[in-house]
């Protein structure tokens, strides 16, 4: 029976590199997938590309590839990643330079077509109901969550490294399975099970004990050396989830159940570009140490609509923080918040929204009933969304001025001012989003 071994090399842009190197070196993997693109990342990448045309892809691409490529080439492990962000072609050129530097022969595919900023205008934004065109010059980017077809085509054509921009995260993992097993694109149950594999792997360490440890309740061994996950996938799409021997962390029914529902709404209808996956009857069974069997996922026909992530300029954030300690620290923090409100009222409607919290007291869940207690310290945080940079600067400076003009014994000010890139969502028919790929071949002649 053919088993495809597929590993997760990163679960977000800033993820650790060493666990991916470990998977590349001794994972005996067929595919290693790097998911590095969050909701806002692609809008920021688009802005970077507007400033510098050859930029706009993941700045860590070269570092990651340099680290894993020798092992991947030696072991015949092919790479799939969305590190292309707003510029998959630029990313492929960068990957080719890395391969040449390392003296490795590889075929690199750039998958394009997710950028729909030229077509998004008439489509309504879910948040406002208004067409995207109403954003005018504030519109920064529009990227459709494409499915696995473009990546599959690139793998079918022999690519060793496939680099795309915005694709649905599970599709990065589904594509190698469709390619290797030759699943039909209307075999909804297999596509649903492959989507489950992708969903469980896409956040890397979140299924091997990361985002999980809670001392005394949920223990995780050797969290400092946590390993990234891999799946052993059968032709029917069912899989065993595990990690490499000797790595830290844990793969258990509990870690897998938490990840199964992570960022899921209706488990029976997980909307994906290639399938509507059904996780509602998934069985999670521990079959050995750090080995968990995943069965029972299924699927039904895709909706024919793609989600589009629309980035737009949304004003400026001004933020500042300062700490108070000892008796009455909450009272002094509240006095300072009152001062900030009074001082900043001069800004009028140039401040669109503001929020003051005392970290340690009410910053996380202000609406939740809490016990009165003596806190040894609190940290004031004041944040405002402003119409312009100057107003945001004024907000940050008002917090800093609390040093000398505020309540007693405030210390440790920090502050920041940055442009806010908001993200809205729209739906677009999939047939308006054609996908293609370009192949670059790097040949290294051995002496």
């Amino acid at each position: 029976m053919t088993i495809v071994r597929i590993g997760a090399g990163a679960g977000f842009q800033g993820d650790r590199i060493a666990p991916a190197v470990d998977l590349a070196e001794r994972g005996n993997l067929d595919f290693l997938v790097f998911e590095c693109l969050a909701e806002r990342t692609i809008a920021l990448a688009q802005q970077a590309r507007l400033k510098t045309p050859e930029a706009g892809f993941d700045p860590l691409l070269a570092r990651r590839l340099r680290a894993v490529l020798p092992g991947c080439v030696r072991n015949g492990t092919r790479i799939v990643t969305n590190m292309g962000a707003a510029n998959p072609q630029g990313a492929a050129a960068c990957a080719a330079r890395v391969a040449r530097d390392l003296g490795l022969s590889v075929k690199i595919a750039a998958v394009m077509g997710d950028d729909v900023v030229d077509r998004i205008g008439p489509f309504g934004l879910e948040e406002t109901g208004q067409p995207a065109a109403d954003l005018g010059a504030r519109l920064v980017s529009a990227n459709a969550y494409i499915g696995c077809r473009g990546i599959v085509a690139a793998l079918d054509a022999g690519a060793d490294i496939v680099i795309c921009g915005r694709a649905s995260d599970p599709a990065l993992f589904l594509a190698p399975l469709v390619h290797r097993f030759g699943w039909a694109m209307d075999d909804w149950d297999r596509l649903g099970r492959g989507t489950l594999v992708g969903h469980m792997l896409e956040c890397a360490a979140q299924v091997t004990g990361g985002y999980f440890a809670d001392p005394g309740r949920k223990s995780v061994p050797d969290l400092a050396n946590i390993g990234f996950p891999l799946a052993e996938v059968s032709e029917d799409g069912n899989a065993v989830l595990t990690k490499l021997p000797g790595t830290g962390g844990v793969v258990s029914r509990a870690t897998c159940t938490e990840q199964l529902l992570y960022e899921i709404h209706d488990p029976a209808r997980y909307l994906q570009p290639d399938v509507v996956a059904d996780f509602s009857r998934v069985q999670i069974t521990e079959i050995g140490p750090d080995r968990v069997a995943l069965t029972g996922a299924s699927g039904s026909a895709a909706t024919g609509l793609l989600k589009v992530s629309v980035g737009y300029r949304d004003g400026w954030l001004g933020e500042g923080q300062i700490s108070y300690a000892g008796a009455q620290c909450v009272a002094r923090g509240e006095l300072a918040l009152g001062l900030l409100q009074e001082r900043l009222s001069i800004c009028g409607d140039r401040i669109a929204e503001a929020r003051g919290d005392l970290i340690g007291w009410n910053a996380i869940a202000p609406g939740v009933t809490r016990r009165a207690m003596d806190l040894p310290e609190v940290r004031l945080r004041y944040a405002a969304r402003c119409l312009d940079q100057d107003t945001a600067q004024q907000v940050a400076e008002e917090v800093e001025s609390l040093y000398l003009c505020g309540p007693a014994a405030g210390g440790g000010v920090s502050r920041q001012v940055r442009e806010i890139i908001g993200i809205a969502a729209a739906l677009m028919p999939a047939d308006l989003v054609p996908v293609r790929f370009e192949m670059t071949e790097v040949s290294h002649e051995t002496a």
Binding site: R40, A254, A268, I359, V368, R381
Partner: protein, 99 residues
């Protein structure tokens, strides 16, 4: 009894929607969780005036439930002014609820 004595939990976010999974440590506690950890109680505990913003999905074979809370993230991670704009901490907050 606090919810954390019976269950563990994880928060995820998509736009302005937060989802919190609640998973029984022991299968025998599942009926009690299903009875006590309702949409209405979760909405009230997290300070949402309108209970209709919370939807609960159950997966009995895993003794797990998933709460989907619309409008929970003051605009979503990209524009929220909150310290924890993702709402990552909300699972721990919910586990303090009395059951």
């Amino acid at each position: 009894m606090k919810l954390h004595e019976l269950a563990h939990a994880r928060t995820g976010d998509k736009g302005d929607i937060s989802n919190i999974s609640v998973i029984a440590y022991r299968a025998e506690d599942w009926p009690l969780l299903q009875e006590r950890v309702t949409e209405a109680r979760v909405a009230a505990y997290l300070g949402h005036a309108d209970p209709a913003v919370v939807t609960r999905y159950v997966l009995p074979q895993l003794q797990a439930m998933n709460f989907v809370i619309r409008g929970a993230l003051t605009g979503g991670v990209t524009r929220s002014l909150a310290l924890d704009a993702h709402g990552k901490c909300l699972a721990s907050v919910l586990l303090e609820m009395e059951v």
